[in-house]
Symmetry: none
Subunit: 242 residues, 2 copies
């Protein structure tokens, strides 16, 4: 274990040094899901007041490393998930490969006319009816992303009624015998809009990664799904391999 020397005169705030030290220890010695020692204990160990220690832990919470719960303790969170963007990478598979369970919750299922962005990306005329499917994905009970899917209604007429959860791509594959392939992704970041912060259980001031992607029929190349995904930026890391 490295020295836990807190330098009180070096200019750097004590709580900041403690935060760094704790971050280090967490990444080395703690399993996700395990609990930190209590604030009182940690304060004693570092030789600081409990308030100072709490300030340090607040830093760790900001960076999404730990989570406090009243009466229980401070829990170490999972490391951000590595999401490899490729042609066939699918969220569900990716997580199940890591031994995590992904749950998809349907938030909205509507028929709407395609506006410019959606119409353009799906390659259909404006006002063509499309299905707007809004889903929330959770991994081990914790929300990871909100996705707005847009698919042409004509192509998947029964989806409005019969899709009730699970992998959308699997649903399309088994009901329509069509495989999808990702052709392009646009990535940017914003602060969460609308209900996203609430749905993702995150503060309004922390950013989300927005990924726009178009999926085409793997055989014909026709665009069949346009998806706009908002990931909690502190829980996801996109890996791009050229």
């Amino acid at each position: 274990m490295s020295l836990l020397a807190i330098n009180r005169f070096g200019g750097e705030a004590v709580y900041s040094q403690i935060a760094r030290q704790l971050e280090n220890e967490i990444q080395r010695f703690y399993q996700p899901g395990s609990y930190l020692p209590s604030e009182a204990l940690l304060a004693q160990r570092f030789g600081v007041n409990r308030h100072t220690l709490r300030r340090a832990i607040e830093e760790l919470m900001q960076s999404g490393l730990v989570e406090r719960s009243h009466g229980k303790g401070t829990r170490v969170l999972d490391a951000p998930i590595d999401y490899t963007l490729g042609q066939n990478t699918r969220f569900t598979e990716l997580l199940e490969a890591e031994g995590m369970t992904a749950v998809t919750r349907i938030l909205r299922k509507l028929q709407i006319p395609a506006r410019d962005g959606v119409a353009k990306r799906l390659g259909v005329p404006e006002n063509t009816p499309v299905i707007w499917l809004e889903t929330l994905r959770l991994v081990d009970e914790r929300p990871y992303c909100v996705i707005s899917h847009f698919v042409p209604l004509q192509r998947f007429p029964e989806m409005l009624d019969s899709y009730t959860g699970g992998s959308l791509h699997d649903f399309i594959l088994s009901n329509y015998q069509v495989s999808l392939r990702r052709v392009e992704s646009l990535v940017t970041a914003t602060l969460p809009l609308g209900d996203d912060a609430g749905l993702l259980h995150m503060p309004q001031h922390q950013p989300v990664l927005r990924v726009k992607s178009v999926n085409v029929d793997v055989t014909t190349g026709v665009p069949l799904e346009y998806a706009l995904t908002r990931f909690r930026a502190d829980r996801i890391q996109l890996r791009i391999c050229p």
Copy 2:
């Protein structure tokens, strides 16, 4: 002016009530850029301890409403920009486009020992001397991204003195006859840290895209550069074509 009644027994935290009250007053009576009364004054006005009032102001900072500066005061910020989808998507740029007509300004050029993250990605032992090059890129006078480059000192001994700007990859190519190839990128988003907000001329509460990338010698596959880029998220959109 509305009543400023703080209910100390209603279950809601005092700081939270004050935050709400202040938010209300700010939106009604304060111009962006103006300063709030000092913490001591506000604490007196609400009849609470200064720490409690500071906690309330922290809430306001979290929601990006105000900004504190040491010694000056607490300033009301501009209303958050409404991110309309597609408004800024004209800035679409390829991540690969290194040779843009961008101006590169060198912020720092130092020799440091490689710490764990840098050492691991460059495949060198810890504390190996590396060059830490911090650059700011501007397009049309507007700051675009800040990049921290790390290259092994031993491999590029003269770079500390002779690199004075322009494309780093071109510099390496013409001085060392080595072409670089990007092997992987990790993308996430955070709020700007350190001086980044100031350098990028953006508010603290708007996110940056962080891209970690490793560049290797195109012939040998040896990692030669590790770069951590922070893009203004409102000016960039990464396009990923699998």
